[in-house]
Protein backbone atom coordinates (compact mmCIF):
# COMPACT_ATOMS: atom_id res chain seq x y z
CA UNK A 1 0.00 0.00 0.00
CA UNK A 2 2.97 2.30 0.20
CA UNK A 3 2.56 3.23 -3.43
CA UNK A 4 -0.72 4.87 -2.55
CA UNK A 5 1.31 7.57 -0.89
CA UNK A 6 2.81 8.34 -4.26
CA UNK A 7 -0.48 8.39 -6.14
CA UNK A 8 -0.60 12.09 -7.16
CA UNK A 9 2.91 11.88 -8.57
CA UNK A 10 2.15 8.65 -10.39
CA UNK A 11 -0.97 10.17 -11.81
CA UNK A 12 0.84 13.18 -13.20
CA UNK A 13 3.59 10.98 -14.57
CA UNK A 14 1.02 8.90 -16.44
CA UNK A 15 -0.70 12.04 -17.67
CA UNK A 16 2.61 13.32 -19.00
CA UNK A 17 3.24 10.01 -20.74
CA UNK A 18 -0.20 10.20 -22.27
CA UNK A 19 0.70 13.53 -23.84
CA UNK A 20 4.01 12.16 -24.96
CA UNK A 21 2.12 9.49 -26.92
CA UNK A 22 -0.35 12.06 -28.25
CA UNK A 23 2.42 14.30 -29.47
CA UNK A 24 3.85 11.39 -31.43
CA UNK A 25 0.67 10.96 -33.42
CA UNK A 26 1.72 13.96 -35.43
CA UNK A 27 -1.35 15.95 -36.35
CA UNK A 28 -2.53 18.65 -34.00
CA UNK A 29 -6.02 18.28 -32.60
CA UNK A 30 -6.31 21.46 -30.63
CA UNK A 31 -9.72 20.89 -29.12
CA UNK A 32 -9.15 17.24 -28.39
CA UNK A 33 -5.84 17.91 -26.66
CA UNK A 34 -7.31 20.71 -24.61
CA UNK A 35 -10.22 18.58 -23.49
CA UNK A 36 -8.00 15.69 -22.55
CA UNK A 37 -5.67 18.02 -20.65
CA UNK A 38 -8.54 19.63 -18.83
CA UNK A 39 -10.02 16.26 -17.91
CA UNK A 40 -6.67 14.99 -16.69
CA UNK A 41 -5.95 18.16 -14.74
CA UNK A 42 -9.33 18.03 -13.04
CA UNK A 43 -8.87 14.34 -12.31
CA UNK A 44 -5.48 15.29 -10.87
CA UNK A 45 -7.18 17.70 -8.49
CA UNK A 46 -9.49 14.87 -7.44
CA UNK A 47 -6.54 12.56 -6.84
CA UNK A 48 -4.85 15.22 -4.74
CA UNK A 49 -8.00 15.80 -2.71
CA UNK A 50 -8.29 12.06 -2.15
CA UNK A 51 -4.71 11.84 -0.94
CA UNK A 52 -4.95 14.90 1.28
CA UNK A 53 -4.94 12.95 4.51
CA UNK A 54 -2.12 10.56 3.64
CA UNK A 55 0.97 10.48 5.76
CA UNK A 56 4.19 8.59 5.59
CA UNK A 57 7.56 8.57 3.97
CA UNK A 58 9.09 6.89 0.96
CA UNK A 59 12.49 6.06 -0.53
CA UNK A 60 14.43 5.49 2.69
CA UNK A 61 12.92 8.45 4.46
CA UNK A 62 13.99 10.95 1.82
CA UNK A 63 10.50 11.72 0.63
CA UNK A 64 8.00 12.94 3.17
CA UNK A 65 4.25 12.88 2.76
CA UNK A 66 2.42 14.93 5.36
CA UNK A 67 -0.44 17.38 5.48
CA UNK A 68 1.90 20.18 4.45
CA UNK A 69 3.05 18.46 1.28
CA UNK A 70 -0.43 17.25 0.42
CA UNK A 71 -1.97 20.70 0.84
CA UNK A 72 0.62 22.09 -1.50
CA UNK A 73 0.12 19.26 -3.98
CA UNK A 74 -3.53 20.12 -3.98
CA UNK A 75 -2.71 23.78 -4.58
CA UNK A 76 -0.35 22.88 -7.40
CA UNK A 77 -2.90 20.63 -9.05
CA UNK A 78 -5.55 23.33 -8.75
CA UNK A 79 -3.11 25.80 -10.26
CA UNK A 80 -2.42 23.49 -13.19
CA UNK A 81 -6.13 22.88 -13.75
CA UNK A 82 -6.78 26.62 -13.76
CA UNK A 83 -3.97 27.32 -16.18
CA UNK A 84 -5.07 24.50 -18.47
CA UNK A 85 -8.52 26.01 -18.26
CA UNK A 86 -7.34 29.16 -20.06
CA UNK A 87 -5.35 27.24 -22.67
CA UNK A 88 -8.27 26.67 -25.03
CA UNK A 89 -6.72 29.05 -27.54
CA UNK A 90 -2.96 29.04 -27.44
CA UNK A 91 -2.46 31.93 -29.78
CA UNK A 92 0.70 32.98 -28.05
CA UNK A 93 2.44 29.67 -28.80
CA UNK A 94 3.92 28.62 -32.12
CA UNK A 95 1.54 26.34 -33.85
CA UNK A 96 4.16 23.71 -34.57
CA UNK A 97 4.80 23.23 -30.89
CA UNK A 98 1.34 23.64 -29.53
CA UNK A 99 0.87 20.04 -28.60
CA UNK A 100 4.07 20.09 -26.60
CA UNK A 101 2.68 22.59 -24.15
CA UNK A 102 0.77 20.01 -22.15
CA UNK A 103 3.60 17.54 -22.57
CA UNK A 104 5.77 20.01 -20.68
CA UNK A 105 3.19 21.44 -18.27
CA UNK A 106 2.37 18.09 -16.71
CA UNK A 107 5.94 16.97 -15.94
CA UNK A 108 6.63 20.46 -14.63
CA UNK A 109 3.75 20.11 -12.20
CA UNK A 110 4.96 16.63 -11.34
CA UNK A 111 8.37 18.10 -10.56
CA UNK A 112 6.92 20.79 -8.32
CA UNK A 113 5.04 18.08 -6.44
CA UNK A 114 8.21 16.09 -5.97
CA UNK A 115 9.83 19.28 -4.77
CA UNK A 116 7.38 19.92 -1.94
CA UNK A 117 7.86 16.41 -0.57
CA UNK A 118 11.61 16.01 -0.95
CA UNK A 119 13.67 16.19 2.19
CA UNK A 120 16.96 15.18 0.66
CA UNK A 121 19.13 17.64 -1.22
CA UNK A 122 19.37 15.24 -4.12
CA UNK A 123 15.61 15.03 -4.53
CA UNK A 124 15.29 18.77 -4.12
CA UNK A 125 17.93 19.43 -6.75
CA UNK A 126 16.67 17.01 -9.36
CA UNK A 127 13.03 17.99 -9.05
CA UNK A 128 13.87 21.70 -9.07
CA UNK A 129 15.84 21.26 -12.28
CA UNK A 130 13.12 19.17 -13.89
CA UNK A 131 10.54 21.84 -13.27
CA UNK A 132 12.90 24.59 -14.41
CA UNK A 133 13.89 22.91 -17.67
CA UNK A 134 10.28 22.41 -18.66
CA UNK A 135 9.68 26.08 -18.06
CA UNK A 136 12.76 27.23 -20.00
CA UNK A 137 11.39 25.46 -23.05
CA UNK A 138 7.82 26.58 -22.50
CA UNK A 139 8.93 30.19 -22.32
CA UNK A 140 10.91 29.84 -25.53
CA UNK A 141 7.89 28.51 -27.44
CA UNK A 142 6.37 31.97 -27.77
CA UNK A 143 4.95 32.70 -31.18
CA UNK A 144 6.95 35.86 -31.47
CA UNK A 145 10.21 33.92 -31.90
CA UNK A 146 12.69 36.52 -30.80
CA UNK A 147 10.80 37.58 -27.72
CA UNK A 148 10.30 34.03 -26.53
CA UNK A 149 13.84 32.90 -27.23
CA UNK A 150 15.37 35.93 -25.58
CA UNK A 151 13.23 35.48 -22.53
CA UNK A 152 13.97 31.77 -22.50
CA UNK A 153 17.70 32.44 -22.71
CA UNK A 154 17.59 34.92 -19.88
CA UNK A 155 15.50 32.60 -17.77
CA UNK A 156 17.88 29.78 -18.55
CA UNK A 157 21.08 31.67 -17.74
CA UNK A 158 19.79 33.16 -14.49
CA UNK A 159 18.22 29.85 -13.51
CA UNK A 160 21.30 27.79 -14.14
CA UNK A 161 23.42 30.35 -12.35
CA UNK A 162 21.07 30.20 -9.37
CA UNK A 163 21.17 26.44 -9.31
CA UNK A 164 24.96 26.52 -9.38
CA UNK A 165 24.84 28.79 -6.34
CA UNK A 166 22.39 26.41 -4.74
CA UNK A 167 24.69 23.46 -5.35
CA UNK A 168 27.57 25.39 -3.90
CA UNK A 169 25.53 26.01 -0.77
CA UNK A 170 24.63 22.35 -0.58
CA UNK A 171 28.22 21.31 -0.85
CA UNK A 172 29.21 23.69 1.93
CA UNK A 173 26.52 22.21 4.13
CA UNK A 174 27.66 18.74 3.13
CA UNK A 175 31.23 19.53 3.99
CA UNK A 176 30.41 21.01 7.39
CA UNK A 177 27.85 18.44 8.47
CA UNK A 178 28.64 15.33 6.42
CA UNK A 179 25.07 14.67 5.41
CA UNK A 180 22.80 15.42 2.48
CA UNK A 181 19.65 14.38 4.25
CA UNK A 182 17.70 17.41 5.37
CA UNK A 183 16.19 15.55 8.30
CA UNK A 184 19.59 14.64 9.69
CA UNK A 185 20.78 18.12 8.89
CA UNK A 186 17.96 19.49 10.99
CA UNK A 187 19.35 17.67 14.00
CA UNK A 188 22.93 18.73 13.45
CA UNK A 189 22.52 22.31 12.26
CA UNK A 190 21.13 24.07 15.35
CA UNK A 191 24.41 23.52 17.15
CA UNK A 192 26.39 24.86 14.23
CA UNK A 193 24.37 27.95 13.40
CA UNK A 194 26.99 30.20 14.92
CA UNK A 195 29.43 29.23 12.15
CA UNK A 196 29.44 31.75 9.34
CA UNK A 197 30.09 28.97 6.81
CA UNK A 198 26.91 27.17 7.78
CA UNK A 199 24.74 30.27 7.51
CA UNK A 200 26.28 31.18 4.16
CA UNK A 201 25.86 27.61 2.96
CA UNK A 202 22.25 27.56 4.01
CA UNK A 203 21.50 30.86 2.31
CA UNK A 204 23.21 29.73 -0.86
CA UNK A 205 21.37 26.43 -0.76
CA UNK A 206 18.12 28.38 -0.60
CA UNK A 207 19.10 30.63 -3.50
CA UNK A 208 17.60 28.19 -5.99
CA UNK A 209 14.23 28.80 -4.43
CA UNK A 210 14.84 32.51 -4.15
CA UNK A 211 15.29 32.35 -7.89
CA UNK A 212 11.99 30.52 -8.36
CA UNK A 213 10.21 32.93 -6.06
CA UNK A 214 11.92 35.92 -7.74
CA UNK A 215 13.39 37.26 -4.53
CA UNK A 216 16.03 39.96 -4.81
CA UNK A 217 18.82 39.47 -6.02
CA UNK A 218 17.50 36.66 -8.22
CA UNK A 219 14.57 38.64 -9.61
CA UNK A 220 16.13 39.99 -12.81
CA UNK A 221 14.58 37.36 -14.98
CA UNK A 222 11.02 37.96 -13.87
CA UNK A 223 10.03 40.98 -15.95
CA UNK A 224 11.61 39.78 -19.20
CA UNK A 225 10.34 36.25 -18.82
CA UNK A 226 6.80 37.29 -18.08
CA UNK A 227 6.88 39.64 -21.02
CA UNK A 228 8.47 37.15 -23.34
CA UNK A 229 6.45 34.10 -22.44
CA UNK A 230 2.98 33.35 -23.75
CA UNK A 231 0.26 34.58 -21.38
CA UNK A 232 -0.70 31.10 -20.24
CA UNK A 233 2.88 30.17 -19.52
CA UNK A 234 3.44 33.40 -17.63
CA UNK A 235 0.33 32.60 -15.63
CA UNK A 236 1.78 29.21 -14.83
CA UNK A 237 5.07 30.72 -13.71
CA UNK A 238 3.27 33.33 -11.63
CA UNK A 239 1.08 30.81 -9.84
CA UNK A 240 2.18 27.17 -9.76
CA UNK A 241 5.90 27.82 -9.83
CA UNK A 242 5.61 30.44 -7.08
CA UNK A 243 3.51 28.21 -4.88
CA UNK A 244 6.07 25.43 -5.14
CA UNK A 245 8.88 27.82 -4.29
CA UNK A 246 7.03 29.08 -1.22
CA UNK A 247 6.39 25.50 -0.13
CA UNK A 248 9.95 24.38 -0.32
CA UNK A 249 11.25 27.58 1.30
CA UNK A 250 8.84 27.18 4.18
CA UNK A 251 9.81 23.58 4.68
CA UNK A 252 13.54 24.14 4.49
CA UNK A 253 13.51 27.17 6.77
CA UNK A 254 11.22 25.42 9.22
CA UNK A 255 13.54 22.44 9.38
CA UNK A 256 16.89 24.17 9.19
CA UNK A 257 16.37 27.79 10.17
CA UNK A 258 16.98 27.21 13.83
CA UNK A 259 17.40 30.36 15.79
CA UNK A 260 20.19 32.21 14.08
CA UNK A 261 19.78 35.95 14.29
CA UNK A 262 22.17 36.41 11.43
CA UNK A 263 20.09 34.21 9.17
CA UNK A 264 16.93 36.10 10.10
CA UNK A 265 18.62 39.42 9.43
CA UNK A 266 19.70 38.38 5.97
CA UNK A 267 16.21 37.17 5.16
CA UNK A 268 14.77 40.42 6.50
CA UNK A 269 17.07 42.45 4.27
CA UNK A 270 16.16 40.32 1.25
CA UNK A 271 12.50 40.76 2.06
CA UNK A 272 12.68 44.53 2.46
CA UNK A 273 14.74 44.99 -0.68
CA UNK A 274 12.46 42.68 -2.67
CA UNK A 275 9.30 44.52 -1.74
CA UNK A 276 10.75 47.94 -2.24
CA UNK A 277 12.52 47.19 -5.49
CA UNK A 278 9.54 45.27 -6.80
CA UNK A 279 7.02 47.96 -6.01
CA UNK A 280 9.12 50.88 -7.17
CA UNK A 281 10.01 49.15 -10.42
CA UNK A 282 6.40 48.16 -11.02
CA UNK A 283 5.32 51.79 -10.93
CA UNK A 284 7.42 52.54 -13.98
CA UNK A 285 6.07 49.70 -16.10
CA UNK A 286 3.79 50.16 -19.08
CA UNK A 287 3.50 46.54 -20.08
CA UNK A 288 0.95 44.68 -18.03
CA UNK A 289 2.97 41.51 -17.68
CA UNK A 290 6.12 43.35 -16.69
CA UNK A 291 4.10 45.14 -14.06
CA UNK A 292 2.78 41.85 -12.76
CA UNK A 293 6.29 40.45 -12.71
CA UNK A 294 7.52 43.23 -10.45
CA UNK A 295 4.47 42.92 -8.27
CA UNK A 296 5.42 39.25 -7.91
CA UNK A 297 8.83 40.32 -6.65
CA UNK A 298 7.10 42.49 -4.07
CA UNK A 299 4.83 39.64 -3.02
CA UNK A 300 7.87 37.43 -2.59
CA UNK A 301 9.06 39.99 -0.07
CA UNK A 302 5.81 39.77 1.90
CA UNK A 303 5.98 35.97 1.94
CA UNK A 304 9.53 36.10 3.22
CA UNK A 305 8.33 38.08 6.24
CA UNK A 306 6.13 35.16 7.20
CA UNK A 307 8.92 32.69 6.63
CA UNK A 308 11.54 34.60 8.58
CA UNK A 309 9.22 34.91 11.56
CA UNK A 310 9.93 31.22 12.07
CA UNK A 311 6.89 30.56 14.19
CA UNK A 312 3.87 28.40 13.35
CA UNK A 313 1.82 31.52 12.70
CA UNK A 314 4.34 32.75 10.18
CA UNK A 315 4.49 29.45 8.32
CA UNK A 316 0.71 29.22 8.34
CA UNK A 317 0.60 32.77 7.02
CA UNK A 318 3.01 31.89 4.23
CA UNK A 319 0.92 28.84 3.32
CA UNK A 320 -2.23 30.92 3.33
CA UNK A 321 -0.52 33.54 1.23
CA UNK A 322 0.48 30.89 -1.29
CA UNK A 323 -3.19 30.02 -1.68
CA UNK A 324 -4.01 33.70 -2.02
CA UNK A 325 -1.33 34.32 -4.64
CA UNK A 326 -2.59 31.37 -6.65
CA UNK A 327 -6.11 32.74 -6.84
CA UNK A 328 -5.45 36.43 -7.25
CA UNK A 329 -2.58 36.22 -9.72
CA UNK A 330 -4.50 33.72 -11.77
CA UNK A 331 -7.52 36.01 -11.90
CA UNK A 332 -5.44 38.83 -13.32
CA UNK A 333 -3.98 36.50 -15.92
CA UNK A 334 -7.42 35.21 -16.81
CA UNK A 335 -8.42 38.78 -17.59
CA UNK A 336 -5.20 39.30 -19.50
CA UNK A 337 -5.67 36.18 -21.62
CA UNK A 338 -9.21 37.16 -22.49
CA UNK A 339 -8.49 40.81 -23.24
CA UNK A 340 -5.34 40.07 -25.24
CA UNK A 341 -7.04 37.17 -26.99
CA UNK A 342 -4.72 37.33 -29.98
CA UNK A 343 -1.77 36.42 -27.77
CA UNK A 344 0.10 39.70 -28.12
CA UNK A 345 1.38 41.66 -25.16
CA UNK A 346 -0.90 44.13 -23.52
CA UNK A 347 -0.11 47.55 -22.18
CA UNK A 348 -1.82 48.67 -19.02
CA UNK A 349 -3.80 51.19 -21.04
CA UNK A 350 -4.92 48.33 -23.27
CA UNK A 351 -7.41 47.47 -20.57
CA UNK A 352 -9.32 50.62 -21.50
CA UNK A 353 -13.05 50.23 -21.72
CA UNK A 354 -13.03 46.82 -20.08
CA UNK A 355 -15.95 47.77 -17.86
CA UNK A 356 -18.12 48.01 -20.95
CA UNK A 357 -16.57 45.20 -22.94
CA UNK A 358 -17.07 42.76 -20.12
CA UNK A 359 -18.36 44.00 -16.76
CA UNK A 360 -17.72 40.59 -15.23
CA UNK A 361 -14.03 40.55 -16.11
CA UNK A 362 -13.70 44.14 -14.98
CA UNK A 363 -15.16 43.24 -11.63
CA UNK A 364 -12.94 40.19 -11.35
CA UNK A 365 -9.97 42.39 -12.13
CA UNK A 366 -11.01 44.94 -9.52
CA UNK A 367 -11.38 42.35 -6.79
CA UNK A 368 -8.11 40.69 -7.76
CA UNK A 369 -6.27 44.01 -7.73
CA UNK A 370 -7.63 44.98 -4.34
CA UNK A 371 -6.70 41.53 -3.14
CA UNK A 372 -3.17 41.88 -4.50
CA UNK A 373 -2.93 45.25 -2.82
CA UNK A 374 -4.04 43.61 0.41
CA UNK A 375 -7.26 45.46 1.10
CA UNK A 376 -9.97 43.77 3.11
CA UNK A 377 -12.26 41.92 2.76
CA UNK A 378 -10.25 39.90 0.28
CA UNK A 379 -8.05 36.88 0.63
CA UNK A 380 -4.94 38.95 0.01
CA UNK A 381 -5.62 41.00 3.10
CA UNK A 382 -6.11 37.95 5.28
CA UNK A 383 -2.84 36.51 4.08
CA UNK A 384 -0.97 39.71 4.85
CA UNK A 385 -2.74 39.99 8.18
CA UNK A 386 -1.61 36.52 9.23
CA UNK A 387 1.93 37.17 8.14
CA UNK A 388 2.13 40.53 9.85
CA UNK A 389 0.64 39.17 13.06
CA UNK A 390 3.23 36.43 13.13
CA UNK A 391 6.02 38.91 12.45
CA UNK A 392 4.77 41.19 15.19
CA UNK A 393 4.81 38.29 17.63
CA UNK A 394 8.52 38.02 16.96
CA UNK A 395 8.92 41.74 17.48
CA UNK A 396 9.61 42.67 13.86
CA UNK A 397 7.74 45.95 14.18
CA UNK A 398 9.85 47.86 11.69
CA UNK A 399 9.46 45.11 9.12
CA UNK A 400 5.68 45.24 9.37
CA UNK A 401 5.70 49.01 9.07
CA UNK A 402 7.92 48.91 5.99
CA UNK A 403 5.70 46.25 4.47
CA UNK A 404 2.61 48.35 5.09
CA UNK A 405 4.25 51.37 3.48
CA UNK A 406 5.02 49.14 0.53
CA UNK A 407 1.39 48.13 0.39
CA UNK A 408 0.52 51.79 -0.08
CA UNK A 409 3.12 52.18 -2.82
CA UNK A 410 1.81 49.12 -4.59
CA UNK A 411 -1.70 50.46 -4.39
CA UNK A 412 -0.65 53.25 -6.72
CA UNK A 413 -0.02 51.01 -9.70
CA UNK A 414 -2.91 48.71 -8.93
CA UNK A 415 -5.15 51.74 -8.99
CA UNK A 416 -3.65 52.76 -12.31
CA UNK A 417 -4.67 49.38 -13.69
CA UNK A 418 -8.10 49.84 -12.20
CA UNK A 419 -8.27 53.28 -13.75
CA UNK A 420 -7.45 51.81 -17.14
CA UNK A 421 -10.17 49.20 -16.83
CA UNK A 422 -12.88 51.45 -15.47
CA UNK A 423 -12.06 54.94 -16.57
CA UNK A 424 -10.19 55.13 -19.81
CA UNK A 425 -12.07 54.99 -23.06
CA UNK A 426 -10.45 52.87 -25.78
CA UNK A 427 -8.85 54.63 -28.76
CA UNK A 428 -10.93 52.80 -31.33
CA UNK A 429 -14.30 51.23 -30.87
CA UNK A 430 -13.88 47.86 -29.20
CA UNK A 431 -16.49 45.19 -29.43
CA UNK A 432 -17.68 43.46 -26.29
CA UNK A 433 -15.60 40.44 -25.35
CA UNK A 434 -17.37 37.20 -25.99
CA UNK A 435 -16.75 34.80 -23.16
CA UNK A 436 -17.74 31.18 -23.11
CA UNK A 437 -20.05 30.12 -20.31
CA UNK A 438 -17.39 28.10 -18.43
CA UNK A 439 -15.05 31.10 -18.43
CA UNK A 440 -17.80 33.33 -17.10
CA UNK A 441 -18.48 30.78 -14.42
CA UNK A 442 -14.79 30.56 -13.62
CA UNK A 443 -14.44 34.33 -13.33
CA UNK A 444 -17.47 34.51 -11.08
CA UNK A 445 -16.20 31.65 -8.95
CA UNK A 446 -12.81 33.31 -8.56
CA UNK A 447 -14.43 36.52 -7.36
CA UNK A 448 -16.51 34.59 -4.87
CA UNK A 449 -13.49 32.65 -3.66
CA UNK A 450 -11.38 35.77 -3.23
CA UNK A 451 -14.06 37.56 -1.24
CA UNK A 452 -15.36 34.57 0.68
CA UNK A 453 -11.89 33.48 1.71
CA UNK A 454 -11.35 37.04 2.90
CA UNK A 455 -14.52 37.20 4.94
CA UNK A 456 -14.64 33.63 6.24
CA UNK A 457 -11.01 32.59 6.29
CA UNK A 458 -11.47 30.37 9.28
CA UNK A 459 -11.37 26.95 7.64
CA UNK A 460 -8.61 27.75 5.22
CA UNK A 461 -6.67 29.23 8.10
CA UNK A 462 -7.14 26.13 10.18
CA UNK A 463 -5.94 24.04 7.26
CA UNK A 464 -2.86 26.21 6.87
CA UNK A 465 -2.27 26.12 10.60
CA UNK A 466 -2.51 22.35 10.77
CA UNK A 467 -0.20 22.00 7.81
CA UNK A 468 2.31 24.31 9.47
CA UNK A 469 2.00 22.44 12.75
CA UNK A 470 3.29 19.29 11.09
CA UNK A 471 6.48 21.07 10.08
CA UNK A 472 7.71 21.90 13.51
Amino acid sequence: MKWMLFSPEIFYLLAALCFLLLSMTGRLHRRRDHHIALALAVAGVAVCVASLQLEGSLFSETYKIDLFSQVFKLLLSVGLALVVGICSELRGIQERYEHEVYLLLFPCTLATMLLVSSIHWLGVYVSLELSSYSLYILVALRKDWTQGIEAGLKYFLVGVFASAMMLFGMVILYGTTGTLDVKQLAQILPGLMSHAAVVVGLLLALSGFFFKLAVFPFHFWAADVYQGAAHQIAAYIATVSKVAAIAVLVRMVAMLGGSSDYFVHVLAVLSVVSMTVGNLAAIAQKDLKRLLAYSTVAHAGYVLIGILSMNPGGYAGAIFYAMAILVMKFTVFLVLVKVAWDGTNLEVDGLAGLHRRSPLLAMALMVALFSLAGLPPTVGFTGKFLIFTAAMERGHFALVLIAMINVVISLYYYLLMLRAAYLLEPQEQCSPLSLSAPIKLLAGALVVVMVAAGIFPRYLMDLARNAAQGLM
Binding site: W121, F156, F161, M170, V171, G178, D224
Partner: protein
Protein backbone atom coordinates in the same frame (compact mmCIF):
# COMPACT_ATOMS: atom_id res chain seq x y z
CA UNK B 1 50.74 15.85 -0.21
CA UNK B 2 47.43 17.02 -1.63
CA UNK B 3 45.15 17.86 1.27
CA UNK B 4 41.48 18.64 1.41
CA UNK B 5 42.35 22.28 1.56
CA UNK B 6 44.06 22.17 -1.79
CA UNK B 7 40.97 20.73 -3.42
CA UNK B 8 38.77 23.28 -1.74
CA UNK B 9 41.01 26.13 -2.78
CA UNK B 10 41.08 24.91 -6.36
CA UNK B 11 37.34 24.54 -6.56
CA UNK B 12 36.77 27.89 -4.88
CA UNK B 13 39.02 29.48 -7.49
CA UNK B 14 37.20 27.69 -10.30
CA UNK B 15 33.83 28.68 -8.90
CA UNK B 16 34.87 32.31 -8.60
CA UNK B 17 36.25 32.37 -12.12
CA UNK B 18 32.97 30.98 -13.32
CA UNK B 19 30.88 33.42 -11.31
CA UNK B 20 32.94 36.40 -12.42
CA UNK B 21 32.75 35.16 -15.99
CA UNK B 22 28.98 35.07 -15.93
CA UNK B 23 28.88 38.72 -14.99
CA UNK B 24 31.61 39.97 -17.29
CA UNK B 25 31.18 37.92 -20.45
CA UNK B 26 28.62 38.96 -22.99
CA UNK B 27 28.63 35.91 -25.22
CA UNK B 28 25.81 33.58 -24.26
CA UNK B 29 27.90 30.50 -25.02
CA UNK B 30 30.79 31.66 -22.88
CA UNK B 31 28.41 32.61 -20.09
CA UNK B 32 27.00 29.13 -20.27
CA UNK B 33 30.49 27.64 -20.16
CA UNK B 34 31.27 29.71 -17.11
CA UNK B 35 28.22 28.30 -15.39
CA UNK B 36 29.39 24.81 -16.33
CA UNK B 37 32.70 25.72 -14.74
CA UNK B 38 30.85 26.59 -11.54
CA UNK B 39 29.06 23.28 -11.64
CA UNK B 40 32.31 21.44 -12.07
CA UNK B 41 33.81 23.32 -9.17
CA UNK B 42 30.90 22.09 -7.10
CA UNK B 43 31.49 18.56 -8.38
CA UNK B 44 35.11 18.73 -7.38
CA UNK B 45 34.19 19.91 -3.91
CA UNK B 46 31.64 17.16 -3.55
CA UNK B 47 34.21 14.52 -4.47
CA UNK B 48 36.77 15.99 -2.13
CA UNK B 49 34.36 16.12 0.78
CA UNK B 50 33.00 12.70 -0.05
CA UNK B 51 36.51 11.29 0.13
CA UNK B 52 37.32 13.20 3.29
CA UNK B 53 34.11 12.20 5.07
CA UNK B 54 34.18 8.62 3.77
CA UNK B 55 30.61 9.05 2.61
CA UNK B 56 29.28 7.84 -0.72
CA UNK B 57 26.48 10.40 -0.84
CA UNK B 58 28.74 13.00 -2.40
CA UNK B 59 29.77 10.65 -5.20
CA UNK B 60 26.18 9.89 -6.02
CA UNK B 61 25.34 13.57 -6.05
CA UNK B 62 28.14 14.24 -8.51
CA UNK B 63 26.76 11.64 -10.89
CA UNK B 64 23.36 13.26 -10.66
CA UNK B 65 24.79 16.70 -11.28
CA UNK B 66 26.61 15.44 -14.34
CA UNK B 67 23.48 13.80 -15.68
CA UNK B 68 21.34 16.83 -15.03
CA UNK B 69 24.01 19.04 -16.57
CA UNK B 70 23.75 16.98 -19.74
CA UNK B 71 20.04 17.66 -19.89
CA UNK B 72 20.79 21.27 -19.13
CA UNK B 73 23.19 21.41 -22.06
CA UNK B 74 20.50 20.02 -24.33
CA UNK B 75 18.00 22.66 -23.27
CA UNK B 76 20.45 25.52 -23.09
CA UNK B 77 22.25 24.86 -26.34
CA UNK B 78 18.94 24.41 -28.11
CA UNK B 79 17.84 27.83 -26.93
CA UNK B 80 21.15 29.41 -27.87
CA UNK B 81 21.00 27.72 -31.29
CA UNK B 82 17.50 29.02 -31.87
CA UNK B 83 18.64 32.46 -30.90
CA UNK B 84 21.54 32.32 -33.32
CA UNK B 85 19.29 31.22 -36.17
CA UNK B 86 17.06 34.19 -35.59
CA UNK B 87 19.48 36.91 -34.74
CA UNK B 88 22.79 35.73 -36.16
CA UNK B 89 24.35 36.58 -32.83
CA UNK B 90 24.76 35.10 -29.41
CA UNK B 91 25.85 38.32 -27.78
CA UNK B 92 23.49 39.10 -24.96
CA UNK B 93 24.07 42.83 -25.33
CA UNK B 94 22.67 42.80 -28.83
CA UNK B 95 19.42 41.27 -27.78
CA UNK B 96 17.39 43.55 -25.58
CA UNK B 97 17.51 41.37 -22.52
CA UNK B 98 18.67 43.78 -19.93
CA UNK B 99 16.19 46.56 -20.26
CA UNK B 100 14.26 47.87 -17.31
Amino acid sequence: MVTLNSYLTLSAVLFSIGAVGVFTQRNALIMYMCIELMLNAVNLTFIAFSRYLNDLGGHVFVFMIMTVAAAEAAVGLAIIMALFRNKETVNVDEINLSKG
